[in-house]
C-alpha cells in the first residue's frame, strides 16, 4: 500500500516539476507576453461571440416568422461550420491583413451554427398562452418580440451562448497560425518555436480558465435576466427543465467547430 503510494508519487513527480516551472514562467513573464496576449484572447473571443449573437438574433427571428427561410439558413450556417478555420483565416489575410478582423469574422460565422438554432428553438418554445396574453394586452409585433418573446427565450439562447463561447475561446488559438491567436501566440511563439513546455502549459491553463470564467458569467447573466425563474423556487429547477428540453433539439449537443 505504502509502496503503491510512493510509486504513484514518483510517477507524478515530473508533473509537479512541470507545474511549478510553468507557474514560475507565467508569473515572471506576465507583463510581457502573457498578460497582453490574454487580453487579446478576451477581445477576439468576446467580439466574435457578440457579433455572432447580433447576427443570429435577426436570422432566428426571421426564421421563426417566415418558416420557409429556416431550412436554407440552417443549411448555410451548417456548411460554414464545416469550413476549416485555418483556410478562412488564410483567405481573409489578403483583405483584412493582420487586423483583428481576420480572426473575428470567421469565428463569428462559426458561432452562427450554434446560436441560430438556439434562438429559433427558444422563440418556438414561448407558450402560446403567453403570446396571446401579450396580444390581448395590446402589444404590437415588435414590442411583443422585445418585451415578451425574447425574454422568455433567454434561457435557451444563453445555453447556446455558453456552448458558443467555450468553443470560440478554445478556437481563438488556431488564429495564432496567422499571428493573431491571443494565448495561442504564447503556445506557438514561446513554446513550439523554442521547444519549451512551460509556455504551452500556461497558454492551455489560462485558456481553460477564461472559458470557465466566461461560462460562470453567462450563468450569472441568465439569473439576472430571468428573475421569474428564481422566484418560482430553486433556480436549479428552472435551469434544469430548460436544459432537459434542449438535447432533443440538439442545441446543447451541438458542439464547437474547430480549426
Amino acid at each position: 500500500m505504502v509502496e503503491a503510494v510512493r510509486a504513484a508519487l514518483a510517477f507524478t513527480e515530473p508533473l509537479w516539476g512541470w507545474a511549478v516551472q510553468s507557474w514560475q514562467w507565467g508569473w515572471s513573464n506576465f507583463d510581457d507576453p502573457v498578460g497582453p496576449m490574454l487580453a487579446e484572447h478576451v477581445l477576439l473571443s468576446y467580439a466574435s461571440v457578440l457579433i455572432g449573437l447580433a447576427l443570429a438574433v435577426p436570422l432566428g427571428v426571421l426564421s421563426v416568422r417566415y418558416r420557409v427561410v429556416y431550412p436554407p439558413v440552417l443549411g448555410g450556417v451548417n456548411a460554414l461550420y464545416a469550413v476549416p478555420s485555418l483556410a478562412l483565416f488564410f483567405l481573409l489575410l489578403p483583405y483584412t491583413a493582420f487586423t483583428p478582423w481576420t480572426a473575428i469574422l470567421p469565428l463569428a460565422l462559426y458561432t452562427l451554427a450554434i446560436l441560430v438554432p438556439n434562438v429559433v428553438d427558444g422563440l418556438n418554445q414561448v407558450p402560446d398562452h403567453v403570446r396571446q396574453a401579450a396580444v390581448a394586452m395590446g402589444f404590437g409585433p415588435l414590442r411583443r418580440l422585445l418585451r415578451v418573446e425574447l425574454p422568455v427565450a433567454v434561457p435557451v439562447i444563453i445555453a447556446g451562448l455558453r456552448v458558443a463561447s467555450v468553443a470560440t475561446i478554445s478556437m481563438v488559438s488556431v488564429a495564432s497560425l496567422v499571428g493573431l491567436g491571443g494565448l495561442g501566440g504564447v503556445i506557438l511563439t514561446y513554446g513550439f518555436a523554442r521547444d519549451f513546455a512551460a509556455p504551452v502549459v500556461v497558454g492551455i491553463a489560462l485558456s481553460v480558465a477564461l472559458a470557465f470564467a466566461t461560462d460562470g458569467l453567462l450563468v450569472l447573466a441568465q439569473r439576472a435576466l430571468t428573475p421569474w425563474a428564481r422566484d418560482r423556487g430553486p433556480a436549479r429547477r428552472g435551469g434544469r427543465s430548460a436544459r432537459r428540453r434542449i438535447p432533443g433539439t440538439g442545441a446543447r449537443a451541438r458542439e464547437e467547430a474547430a480549426a
Partner: protein
C-alpha cells in the same frame, strides 16, 4: 469570377490528381487520420457514456471532464504532445481524440439518461436484468442522440485534421498550408472545398446510418418532435 475560374483550373490540372501529393492520396490520408481519431474517441466515450448514463453514477464527473476537454485549445494539446513525443501522427491523433470525446460522451450520456423511467421500470418488471435493459432498451432508445454526437465529432475532426499539415504530415491541410506559403489562393480554396465536401459526405453518411440503425418507431417520433421544434 476570376478566383472561381482559377480554382476550377486548379481542379482541372492533371498533375494535381497524381502522385504522392495528389488530391486522391491527400484525401485518403485525411480520411485515414479522421477515422482513426473518431474510432479511438468512440471507443473511449461510448462505453463511459453508456455506463454512467445507465447507473447514474459518476455522471457529473464524466460531464465535467468532457466540459474541461471541450475548453482545451487544440493547438495547445497538439504542441504539448509534439514537445513530448516529437512530430508525427501521434500528436495529431491525441489532439483530435481530445476534440471528439466531449460531444460523443455528452450525447451518449444524455441519450441514456433521457430514456423514460416508466419504460425501464416496465422492462425490469418483465424480468430484464440491468445488462439487458441497457442493451435491448436504453441503447436503441439513445441511438438518435449517440449518432448525433458521433456526427458532430466527425465533422469537427474532419475540419480540424487540416492542422496535421502543421506538424509535418499529410492530409488535405497540406494544400491549405502549402498554398499559404506559396501564396497560391486557388490552392487554399481548393483544399478548403475538398474538406467541406468531405464534411458534407460525412453528414450524408450519418443520415443513411440513422435510417439503418434507429428503430422505425423512434424515427417517426424523432421526426415529429423535430418538426414541431423547427
Amino acid at each position: 469570377m476570376n478566383i472561381a475560374s482559377e480554382v476550377a483550373s486548379w481542379f482541372a490540372q492533371p498533375q494535381n490528381w497524381s502522385g504522392s501529393g495528389g488530391i486522391p492520396v491527400r484525401f485518403a490520408e485525411h480520411v485515414y487520420y479522421s477515422v482513426l481519431a473518431l474510432l479511438a474517441a468512440a471507443a473511449i466515450a461510448v462505453p463511459v457514456g453508456l455506463l454512467t448514463g445507465h447507473t447514474g453514477r459518476g455522471g457529473f464527473l464524466a460531464i465535467s471532464l468532457a466540459n474541461f476537454a471541450r475548453a482545451l485549445p487544440t493547438i495547445g494539446v497538439l504542441t504539448l504532445v509534439v514537445l513530448g513525443m516529437g512530430l508525427g501522427l501521434t500528436p495529431v491523433l491525441v489532439a483530435l481524440v481530445a476534440l471528439a470525446v466531449p460531444p460523443i460522451l455528452v450525447n451518449t450520456y444524455e441519450g441514456v439518461r433521457g430514456v423514460d423511467p416508466q419504460v425501464t421500470d416496465a422492462a425490469r418488471g418483465m424480468g430484464m436484468r440491468g445488462g439487458e435493459v441497457l442493451a435491448r432498451l436504453e441503447v436503441p432508445m439513445a441511438m438518435p442522440l449517440i449518432l448525433l454526437g458521433l456526427r458532430t465529432a466527425a465533422i469537427q475532426v474532419v475540419s480540424t485534421a487540416t492542422i496535421a499539415a502543421y506538424v509535418g504530415i499529410g492530409g488535405l491541410g497540406r494544400f491549405i498550408v502549402d498554398g499559404q506559403s506559396q501564396q497560391r489562393i486557388e490552392q487554399i480554396l481548393g483544399g478548403a472545398l475538398l474538406v467541406v465536401a468531405l464534411a458534407l459526405a460525412v453528414t450524408g453518411l450519418f443520415t443513411l446510418l440513422r435510417r439503418w440503425v434507429v428503430a422505425p418507431g423512434l424515427r417517426r417520433r424523432a421526426a415529429a418532435s423535430s418538426s414541431t421544434a423547427s
